[in-house]
Structure formats: structure tokens, C-alpha cells
């Protein structure tokens, strides 16, 4: 090694717990080094110690943890031997940190400029004017809109993706030698994520910063990093260049991670069609719903869903895709009866399903079950798992005593949980276990339809993959149908038969799962599909060239609410058409229905042409 490494970590050990009590080692002797200007990725699932290691680069251990051994050198500084003052100076100039949740990292009561320039002013590194000028330069480098005036705004006035980039600006304002990114894009939509990643990559390259990028997403890491360190259980499993780790992984755990990311598409099992005239299990026609007071025409103040139609056949799975705010969750809540609908009809088993919960029959209650995204809040913390599962059994099936217990154990077995878990409360379970209990509770009702609202989003890749497998297995065995809501195209592809795409409450596309596989598709679907990071280096750079192209100009819009909602972001919009007339429903050769002005051949031409550079 000719030149000295920028960062050198040797035998790093971090323990949790104070010395007299039980001590758990959470980082077990980690070594790695990063050259100047290089980007290193720390990858692993939650609990693998990746954030703990990243924080130790700042000489920091979280409350309850302590760095117990090893050395961390940044430049010429031995970080761990510094006193409190030295560490403060280190964090001022040498190392900066970008946290996962930008919205929690900003003070809502102060302007963005105040907060972005604060590190520089606090450590008296530059004058106020110089700091402002530098911040504006950084805003420009990070491709933020209106860099001159952005600083005057408050954090709630910018989007989540912009806030995340502002967080990076805050870290970069002091010209640190090393920047630690801690899962900066995990909470963002794919379409936002790509913008943020591109901005980060550009600014890292421009400034020649050395960076450590912490993530659990291999595909993201493949775009950002030069080298990857794979962590599991606080130990390094693999350390190598991106191409080597992705193409020729040495360690078994790395292979497992890769397999969970590159999910093979399950063979499409068409559910047995018994007879031609069986009504679909769930059919929704022209649904509109929202929140707030209804106006004169019966439309709610905040429209979340507008003219959504779908149908789910018995035993099949419908995927609902969209960004956050597209109305996916509201759709599930309308079907579950938790949100009133303004217009449209919902047929369940060919019969009209009352909008209000109180008017549904016990049988309808039983047949529709909902599973929420956040297993932490979906299980009552003061009940034991046995109580949680016993209630639907008693409520729907009047099972009590030993019969209920037997059924409960069978359910736990069905979701592959040990019987011993029954006496615990949810606090004693891991995230994946809680999600399984959540599923078991829905299954206890013996339902026909389960509404799955982002059930794997809060879970690690490997755990999430296990839950998906479980869902597929349950469907085979019990013949339940799912409405599977997700923002993640790859999970939807892995489990669903049919797919609908929601944008701002409008159903812009509906069709078989295959519609996601290749063009032509709706321009928005295209954007979603193309925004999913591919597991190969260089993908982001190729994408960025496409994204850099300006959107076609669009004139003033006519005041018709039915206009295409996507026109503001559409790369193929047509002036005089998209802003004047509502799009009509078109059928593509694949059988998919889309809401777009473009013809099939036109879309095909545009999208294949676009896909070539990628």
C-alpha cells in the first residue's frame, strides 16, 4: 500500500451494558480501511452493528454502549484516544454524519439556512456570509431547486428527499475529510431515492470526499460504493470491491443476502377457475374516498382516491403499487371499512359491501382481515400473544378453552413460530416475529381476503423475504386472496398475479403482473420500474443521464379535475393534450389498461428507446 489509508479501523470492539451487569459484545473485532476519495459501504441487516461502527468513526458510542477495544484512525488522528475536546474538534472539521431520518434531524422552528450553516458558525470556521455562499453552492451541487432562496424556508416547506439532501449539505459545509451516511435513503420512495442518490454521488465526486455509506440495500450500495464490507452479528463477513462482492461472493451470508435481493419470480399460478360465472371475490367500481367534510357534490375535502376500479379473483393476489401519498393505504382502509367512501361501489362475493363498519354482517367482518405495516403498533402491547390470537377465535368461531388453544397452537405453527411464544407480550418479540403474529391473527378469522398494507416494508431484506414466502405458502394451502400493498416493485412482482398502479389516487395502470416486466407501460409505471436500483454498478450513472433531460414544456392547465395527475412529472407529456383533455382508458396488447394519451406503439417506441442507454 503506497499511500496511507484515510480511514483505518483495527480490531474495533463495542460492547453494550455496563461492566458489572451482563455485557454483550455488539461489534466483535472489525477491521477495514478506506483510501482517500473512496466510498466504502457497510452493509448488513438491523442488529448487525453497522450504525454502531459508523458512529465509532466519530468517536461516539450510543448511550449504554462503550468502545472496548481496537483503534480507529482517520487521517493522522487516532480517534479513540482523543479527549472530549479533541473529539469535538474532530467532528467539527474531519468527520461529518448524515442520519437516516432527515425530518427528525431538523429543528422545525428554524430556517434551513440557519441550520445548514450552523456547524460552520458553531465551530467558527468561517464568517456568516461565507457560510451562506458556501451553502448556496452546495444546494446547487446537490441539485436542489431554487438554491438562492431555499435557505429562507422552514423544514416543513420542503419534501423528504430535499430534506435529506439538505442534511448532506449540513454535513458538507465544513469541508469534512470523511462523511458518514447512515441509511440516508431508506425512508424515501424509489423515485425520490434515485434523485437523492444521484445528488450524493455527484457531490462526493466533486469534492473528492471520503465516504462511509451505511445501508441494508445491496442495490443502492452497488451504485454508491467502491468497496463493500458485509457485516453480520457484529463481525465482518466479507470485504471486497463492489464487482467482486456482487459477482463472486465468497461468504455464505453474502450469498444469502444476494439471493434475498435477487428474488426469482415465482411461477405464475393461475388460481383454479371453477366455472366461468363465478363473481370475483372483491370488485371495486369507480371508488372515490378521502378525508374531511363532504361538499355539496358528496366529494370529501381532501380527495385521496378518485375513480379507482379493481377486482380480485378468489385465491389470487392483487398488488397495489404507488409512492407514499398515492392512496394505497386509504384503499385498504376503505375496503376494511375504516374510512368512508364518497362514491363508487364495493362488491364482495358479488354482494354490495356496506361502507360503514356497523352495517356489515359478522360474516363480512370475518372474511376481510387487514394486516398493517407496522407490527409494533398493530399488536396491543398489554396483551399476550395467546390473548391476541384467542380473541378472533372466540369472536368469530366461538372457540374457547382447549379447542381455542389447539387452534392457536396450529396457527402459530402455520406462521412458523414456536408455541413457547404464546405467553409472551409483543415487546418480547423481534420485528419479523411480530409480523408473523400479525398474520396469524388475520388467519385466525379464517378469512377469504387479507389486506396486506406494506407488511414487509419495515423488515430487513432476509426477514421480509421469509414473510413473502410464508404468504405464498399460506395462499397455496388455504386459498386466501391478498390485496398486497407495497411501494416496492420487486416484492409485488414476487407475489402478485395482478397489479394496479396508483398515482395521486388515480389508477393509472392495471393488468397482469407481467405488465411490470417490459414496456409498453404507463409513463408513471415506467418511472417506477426504472427507479428501482438494479444490482449492478453503473446503473445510477446511466439513469441519471436520462433523468437529466428536461421535461417537455407544458402550458397552462385547463381547470378540469379529471386531467392526468401525472402530467406535472411526466417525461413524455404532450402540450395541448395532457393539460387540456382527460386521458381515456386504453387497452395495451398485454391486456393492461392504462390512462394515457399516448398510443401503444408510441409508448413502446419512447420506452424502449429510453431503456437502451440503461
Amino acid at each position: 500500500m503506497a499511500e496511507r489509508d484515510m480511514i483505518e479501523v483495527k480490531g474495533l470492539r463495542v460492547v453494550a451494558g455496563a461492566a458489572p451487569a451482563a455485557v454483550t459484545e455488539i461489534v466483535k473485532g472489525v477491521d477495514f480501511s478506506v483510501r482517500k476519495g473512496e466510498v466504502l459501504a457497510l452493509i448488513g441487516e438491523s442488529g448487525s452493528g453497522k450504525t454502531t461502527i459508523a458512529l465509532s468513526l466519530l468517536g461516539y458510542a450510543r448511550a449504554g454502549c462503550a468502545i472496548s477495544g481496537g483503534s480507529v484512525r482517520i487521517g493522522d488522528v487516532d480517534v479513540l484516544s482523543l479527549d472530549a475536546k479533541g473529539r469535538r474538534a474532530l467532528r467539527a472539521r474531519t468527520v461529518a454524519y448524515v442520519a437516516q431520518s432527515a425530518s427528525a434531524g431538523f429543528n422545525p422552528a428554524r430556517t434551513i439556512m440557519d441550520q445548514v450553516t450552523e456547524p460552520a458558525l458553531l465551530h467558527q470556521l468561517m464568517t456568516k456570509d461565507a457560510a451562506r455562499a458556501k451553502a448556496i453552492g452546495l444546494f446547487r451541487s446537490l441539485a436542489l431547486p431554487a438554491p438562492e432562496t431555499l435557505g429562507e424556508r422552514y423544514p416543513h416547506q420542503v419534501s423528504g428527499g430535499q430534506l435529506q439532501r439538505l442534511m448532506a449539505a449540513m454535513a458538507l459545509i465544513t469541508d469534512p475529510a470523511v462523511v458518514v451516511f447512515d441509511e440516508p435513503t431508506t425512508a424515501l420512495d424509489v423515485t425520490t431515492q434515485i434523485e437523492v442518490l444521484a445528488a450524493f454521488k455527484k457531490v462526493i465526486r466533486e469534492l473528492g470526499t471520503t465516504a462511509v455509506y451505511v445501508s441494508h440495500d445491496l442495490a443502492v450500495v452497488a451504485q454508491m460504493a467502491d468497496r463493500i464490507v458485509v457485516l453480520n452479528g457484529g463481525a465482518v463477513k466479507e470485504n471486497g470491491a463492489v464487482a467482486q462482492v456482487l459477482d463472486a461472493p465468497v461468504d455464505a451470508y453474502t450469498r444469502q443476502l444476494l439471493a434475498a435481493t435477487r428474488r426469482p419470480e415465482a411461477a405464475l399460478e393461475t388460481p383454479p377457475q371453477s366455472g366461468k360465472h363465478v363473481p370475483p371475490l372483491l370488485e371495486i367500481r369507480g371508488l372515490a374516498a378521502g378525508y374531511g367534510r363532504l361538499d355539496r357534490f358528496g366529494a370529501p375535502a381532501v380527495r385521496v382516491l378518485d375513480d379507482v376500479s379493481l377486482s380480485i379473483a378468489r385465491g389470487s393476489t392483487l398488488g397495489v403499487i404507488g409512492e407514499s401519498g398515492s392512496g394505497k393505504t386509504t384503499l385498504a382502509r376503505v375496503v376494511a371499512g375504516l374510512v368512508d367512501r364518497a362514491r363508487g361501489e364495493v362488491l364482495f362475493n358479488g354482494e354490495a359491501l356496506p361502507a360503514q363498519l356497523s352495517r356489515r354482517t359478522p360474516e363480512q367482518y370475518r372474511q376481510i382481515q387487514i394486516v398493517f405495516q407496522n407490527a409494533d403498533t398493530a399488536l396491543n402491547p398489554s396483551h399476550s400473544i395467546a390473548d391476541i390470537l384467542a380473541r378472533p377465535l372466540a369472536f368469530y368461531h366461538h372457540l374457547r378453552g382447549s379447542a381455542a388453544k389447539k387452534r392457536m397452537l396450529a396457527l402459530l405453527d402455520l406462521v412458523k413460530l414456536p408455541a413457547s411464544i404464546a405467553t409472551r407480550t409483543p415487546a418480547g418479540l423481534s420485528g419479523g416475529q411480530k409480523q408473523r403474529v400479525n398474520l396469524a391473527r388475520a388467519l385466525a378469522a379464517d378469512p377469504a381476503l387479507i389486506l396486506c398494507d406494506e407488511v414487509t416494508s419495515a423488515l430487513d431484506t432476509v426477514v421480509g423475504a421469509a414473510i413473502l414466502d410464508l404468504l405464498a405458502e399460506l395462499r397455496r394451502e388455504l386459498g386466501v386472496s391478498y390485496m398486497f400493498i407495497s411501494h416496492d416493485i420487486s416484492t409485488v412482482r414476487a407475489i402478485c398475479d395482478e397489479v394496479i398502479v396508483l398515482y395521486a389516487g388515480h389508477r393509472v395502470e392495471a393488468g397482469q403482473r407481467d405488465v411490470l416486466a417490459a414496456p409498453p407501460y404507463h409513463p408513471y409505471t415506467g418511472l417506477l420500474v426504472d427507479s428501482v436500483p438494479a444490482l449492478k454498478p453503473g446503473w445510477l450513472d446511466a439513469r441519471r443521464e436520462i433523468n437529466a433531460a428536461a421535461l417537455p414544456p407544458l402550458g397552462e392547465s385547463a381547470g378540469i379535475p379529471e386531467l392526468c395527475a401525472f402530467r406535472a412529472r411526466c417525461p413524455v407529456r404532450i402540450d395541448g393534450m395532457c393539460n387540456m383533455t382527460p386521458p381515456s382508458l386504453k387497452k395495451l396488447p398485454s391486456g393492461a389498461e392504462i390512462l394515457c394519451h399516448h398510443s401503444t406503439s408510441e409508448l413502446n417506441r419512447l420506452q424502449t428507446q429510453e431503456a437502451i442507454p440503461a
Binding site: 441487516e45 438491523s46 399488536l379
Partner: protein, 317 residues
């Protein structure tokens, strides 16, 4: 917060989905499948185990006074109202451990008898206030907008009347009796309990497990009782303790003004007032009931602080 919610108490199993080794929560409970008797057996032990030293002191003080309220008259050396000595404002001694009052009555016996009024009255009033307040708070949270609106405005109206002035007026008008005192003290603190329980219940109502229960088709009373109440009981207990202290002080204050428990019976507040003449001599007759009030309130506060801390560390609702 939408991705990977972090809760320090939750062990993340990662790939070890079938990890059963983290069994510390099940360790002290019955074999699987018999969930109901499990929490009861260890509850006291766990309570004592969980309390800090200060909390334990508080618990002991409160338990002591509760015990005295029940057995006080049995262990008192003299009858409560009996004139036993010729010496007024007597000092500590073998015959009268806590001295004598302004009529020469045994102070220890007076305090032991008085505990029944102070602790019992306050306990009854606090229980009444908390139960009624919690009931209506829950009702407001689980039922529709109109019920909530009506109940809330009603209690707002009650809040707007200063409670001590109301108590004075009511007692001056109707005379002082035990039931009247209890009712007045309870009425003064019901709106506060309602406010707190309603907002707690509202928070719990927005959580997903309540939504699941609603989607399951459960009635509002099941949701209130089973899903909501257990998750707001800790803050409500803390609130109960606080109200108890306030009521003790309110009743003592009323007694001090001569509107509380009427002679010859006396609660601790009346004892202080009766013997206020001995203050200049430093007589135990005035100090001791004050010490009794202080220990009860401080003890209760220590206990509450501890309950609060536990409630918070559990993430509340």
C-alpha cells in the same frame, strides 16, 4: 420513523426467526397455554423488584398510613375524644408519646383516629374522581364525535368554576358532612381526570391495533375495556396518586378553615387548626398532624414519580 421503527426493548432477531433463547419474559410465568394466572403470581414481587429505593420508601409510607386508617382506632391507646390529661400542649412522654392537645387529649390517639378521615375520605374522593373521570373520558374517546363534543364542553364548563371556591360555597350552603365532603372533593377533580383520560384514550384509539379491532367488528365497549384501558392504566394510576394528594390538601385546607370534618371528630387538617395556639410553644400537638400530612403526601408523590417513570420507559401507549 416509517422505516424500521427503533425500540430499544425489542431484540432484533435478524435471521434467527426461531430464536427462543430470549425467554426472560416467560421465565417466571406458568407453562404455555395458561396465560391468565401467569401475571398474578409474580405481580407483587415484580412491583417491589422494579421500584427504586425512593419508590419503595413512598410505597411503605403510603401502605403504612393506609394500614393505620384501618386499624388506627384499634391500636390507639385512648379513645379519640377522651380527655386524658390535665396538661394542655404537653410534650412527648411515656403516657402520651406525641403529647397532648389544647384540651389535654392524647395526640397519638387523635392522629390515629384522624387517619381514617384524612386517608379514607381522600381515598374515596380520589377513587370516585378517577373512576368517573376515566369512564367518561373513555366514553368520549370511543364513541362518535357528538358524544365527545357534548361531554368535553360539559366538563369544560365545570372546569371553569374554581374548585376551592365551589367547595366553600357548597359546604357553607349545605353544611359539612362526610358524604358532602367526599362529593365536593370528587366533583372538583373529575374534570381533570376526564381531560387526561380522554386525551390518553384518543392517542391509543389512533393506533393500529385498535383499528384492527374495529375492522374485526368489535363493539365500542370491548374496544374501550380490552384494547384501550390497559394501555392507559399506568398514566391514569399516576394521575390518581396526584389527585389523591390534592384532595388530602383540599380537605385539610377545608378543615383548617373549619368547614371540614366537624368536632369532636377531627382529620389531620382540623388537628392542626385546633392546636394552632400551641405553635408558639413548639408543641407536638401542632407539629405531629402536620408531619402526618407531610409524610402521606410525600410518600404518595414518591410512589407516583416511580410509577410515572415506569410508564414512560414502557413507551406509554
Amino acid at each position: 420513523m416509517m422505516s424500521q421503527p427503533t425500540n430499544p426493548h425489542v431484540p432484533h432477531a435478524g435471521t434467527e426467526l426461531y430464536d427462543v433463547s430470549r425467554d426472560e419474559l416467560v421465565a417466571d410465568s406458568a407453562p404455555p397455554g395458561e396465560p391468565t394466572p401467569a401475571p398474578k403470581t409474580g405481580v407483587l414481587k415484580r412491583l417491589v423488584h422494579r421500584f427504586s429505593v425512593l419508590g419503595l420508601i413512598g410505597l411503605l409510607l403510603v401502605a403504612f398510613w393506609l394500614l393505620i386508617a384501618f386499624v388506627g382506632p384499634l391500636i390507639a391507646p385512648y379513645k379519640g375524644g377522651a380527655l386524658t390529661s390535665t396538661e394542655i400542649f404537653g410534650s412527648y412522654g411515656a403516657a402520651h408519646p406525641l403529647g397532648t392537645d389544647y384540651l389535654g387529649r392524647d395526640m397519638l390517639s387523635r392522629i390515629l383516629y384522624g387517619a381514617r378521615y384524612t386517608v379514607g375520605l381522600a381515598l374515596a374522593a380520589a377513587l370516585l374522581a378517577s373512576l368517573i373521570g376515566t369512564f367518561f373520558g373513555l366514553l368520549a374517546a370511543v364513541s362518535g364525535r357528538w358524544v365527545d363534543e357534548i361531554l368535553s364542553r360539559l366538563f369544560d364548563a365545570i372546569i371553569s368554576i374554581p374548585s376551592k371556591v365551589l367547595a366553600l360555597v357548597v359546604i357553607a350552603a349545605f353544611g359539612s358532612s362526610i358524604t358532602m365532603l367526599t362529593t365536593v372533593a370528587a366533583a372538583a377533580y373529575i374534570p381533570g381526570a376526564f381531560r387526561i383520560s380522554r386525551s390518553l384514550a384518543m392517542n391509543v384509539m389512533s393506533l393500529e391495533y385498535v383499528q384492527v379491532a374495529r375492522a374485526r367488528g368489535e363493539g365500542i365497549f370491548y374496544i374501550a375495556r380490552v384494547e384501550v384501558l390497559p394501555n392507559m392504566i399506568h398514566p391514569m394510576l399516576a394521575d390518581f396518586g396526584l389527585r389523591f394528594v390534592f384532595i388530602v390538601l383540599l380537605l385539610s385546607g377545608l378543615s383548617f378553615l373549619g368547614l371540614g370534618v366537624q368536632p369532636p371528630n377531627a382529620d389531620w387538617g382540623s388537628l392542626v387548626r385546633e392546636n394552632i395556639g400551641g405553635l408558639s410553644e413548639g408543641a407536638p400537638a401542632v407539629l405531629m398532624p402536620a408531619v402526618a400530612i407531610a409524610t402521606l403526601t410525600i410518600g404518595m408523590n414518591l410512589l407516583i414519580d416511580n410509577l410515572r417513570r415506569r410508564g414512560r420507559s414502557h413507551g406509554g401507549a
